[in-house]
């Protein structure tokens, strides 16, 4: 596939890996966080961890939208889906996420709730148009990558006055999550592999604070093997030279200013919540989006009652520690036993972008000596 295969050249990967070994001081320990779950998967799928020098530890970040949704919000979605008049439309990833009572949307569907999988929020709007007798609620999740899609869908719903459509908004922002990680005394990260696709929307400037306030380098990277290795090399060079800058490895799609049309849609349709609860990270100020007042008629939280309860994560599940980079998936007592992709306990095992799912799928069941 064009723009994919070229970046999987094994010779290039080996060449960069050889260079990486010259960029670390033997015996040192460098902790780099790949913020995005898409990167986590690419790393294990392609075995990039084996190409890194032993001095470099990769810590997996919170950039997995399904993983960071707290249990209470899943229960709210189930509650909406169980209303007889409601059709809940969701990305497929969310269906198997267990809520507070260990029940998922998939189980709600099995018990008769009308839950449908859509590929795009526009498909959910299409359902509302096709079935005017149903109240179609779109379960909006994701970072700035998917939020513009929800925004444009709401703009269209208003323009076409589709009255039986609304959004249960759980969109979150990557910047405040990064700040929460940088402020956490237990997680000390030396540099960040920046999320490639969020950055197509927000650009590279929102990461400036990581360098100016926290003196850590950020390299925005693509998702192919050589992209990620190249980004690690760029980070190690910055660390070696004592620099902390935002660099862009993914210039083919990421521009410094981001996507102005998408940013304008976000600004029109959403407002920032005072705070939003993240699984593992707790409540983070100004980290979540709600639907702006001008679009109140399309806001599921204003149209329907949702319980809005705050529910603690199950004690056995260490998703919270995994999301903060404090534990590797195999260090969790239920990893691969009580918690598997078929019967997940925690979100990190459910999502195709979750660290536990990546470790499970690609055989990282224990520490490699």
């Amino acid at each position: 596939m064009k723009y994919v295969d070229e970046y999987r050249d094994g010779r290039a990967a080996k060449a960069i890996a050889a260079e990486l070994r010259t960029l670390v001081r033997p015996g040192s320990h460098v902790k780099l966080m790949e913020v995005c779950g898409g990167h986590t998967h690419a790393i294990y799928r392609h075995g990039l961890d084996a190409l890194l020098p032993g001095e470099v530890e990769l810590v997996h970040g919170p950039g997995c939208p399904v993983c960071v949704i707290p249990l209470g919000r899943v229960d709210d979605a189930i509650c909406l889906a169980e209303r007889p008049e409601v059709t809940l439309a969701s990305f497929g990833d969310m269906l198997r996420v267990p809520g507070g009572r260990r029940r998922s949307l998939l189980e709600a569907k099995a018990r008769g709730a009308d839950v449908r999988v859509v590929y795009s929020p526009l498909d959910a709007l299409g359902l509302a148009v096709a079935e005017p007798e149903r109240e179609v609620v779109f379960f909006g999740v994701g970072f700035e990558t998917t939020a513009p899609a929800t925004a444009l869908t709401l703009l269209r719903a208003r323009r076409e006055q589709v009255r039986n459509f609304s959004v249960f908004c759980n969109h979150v922002l990557i910047g405040p999550a990064l700040r929460a990680i940088l402020d956490s005394p237990e997680t000390q990260i030396d540099g960040f592999v920046g999320p490639g696709h969020v950055s197509t929307v927000i650009g590279t400037r929102p990461y400036d604070f990581v360098c100016s306030e926290y003196h850590r380098p950020v390299v925005v990277a693509g998702f192919e093997p050589t992209d990620i290795l190249q980004a690690v090399a760029m980070l190690l060079r910055q660390l070696r030279d004592g620099r902390a800058e935002v660099e862009n490895e993914y210039g083919r799609v990421v521009r410094a200013e981001g996507n102005p049309a998408a940013l304008a849609a976000l600004a029109e349709v959403f407002a920032v919540r005072p705070d939003f609860e993240w699984r593992g990270l707790g409540a983070i100020p100004r980290s979540g989006l709600r639907i702006a007042d001008a679009f109140a008629d399309w806001d599921a939280e204003r149209r329907f009652e949702v319980p809005g309860a705050r529910i603690e994560d199950p004690k056995a599940c260490r998703c919270g520690d995994v999301l903060r980079g404090l534990a590797k998936p195999y260090e969790c007592g239920v990893f691969g036993t009580a918690c598997t992709p078929e019967q997940p306990l925690g979100t990190c095992m459910v999502s195709s972008e979750g660290a536990c799912a990546a470790y499970y799928a690609y055989g990282r069941h224990r520490r490699v000596a």
Binding site: M1, K2, Y3, V4, E6, Y7, D9, R11, A12, K14, A15, I16, A18, E19, C36, G37, G38, G63, P65, V66, F91, D93, Y119, S120, P121, L122, D123, V141, G142, F143, T145, T146, P148, A149, L152, P195, G196, H197, V198, T200, V201, G222, F223, T226, D227, Q230, E249, G251, R252, V253, V254, R255, N259, A261, A262, A265, S351, S352, E353
Partner: protein
């Protein structure tokens, strides 16, 4: 969900939509966020929306860097074949 797929625009349709080819699979995609994209251009698509046009020059620049990395790796062994054959 944040995974983007590159596809090539086949034709622009009404209402900010376009027909996009993903190596054989064709789907209607919103190009409202990439108004500059024309048929033949490559775009990165997320959940049915093109979020960026792929910059051919930048893509080439990254590949050239990779080529240099390979060449540098091979050079100490005196093997210039790849570099010359890279074209």
């Amino acid at each position: 969900m944040c995974l983007g797929v590159p596809g090539q625009i086949l034709e622009r349709l009404d209402d900010g939509l376009a027909k996009v080819d993903f190596t054989g699979v064709r789907r209607t995609v919103s190009v409202a966020f990439t108004p500059e994209a024309e048929p033949g251009d490559w775009v990165l698509v997320h959940v049915g929306f093109a979020l960026a046009t792929i910059d051919e020059d930048e893509a080439r620049a990254t590949l050239d860097l990779l080529g240099e990395a390979i060449a540098a790796e091979l050079e100490p062994a005196g093997n210039k074949l790849f570099q010359e054959g890279r074209g």
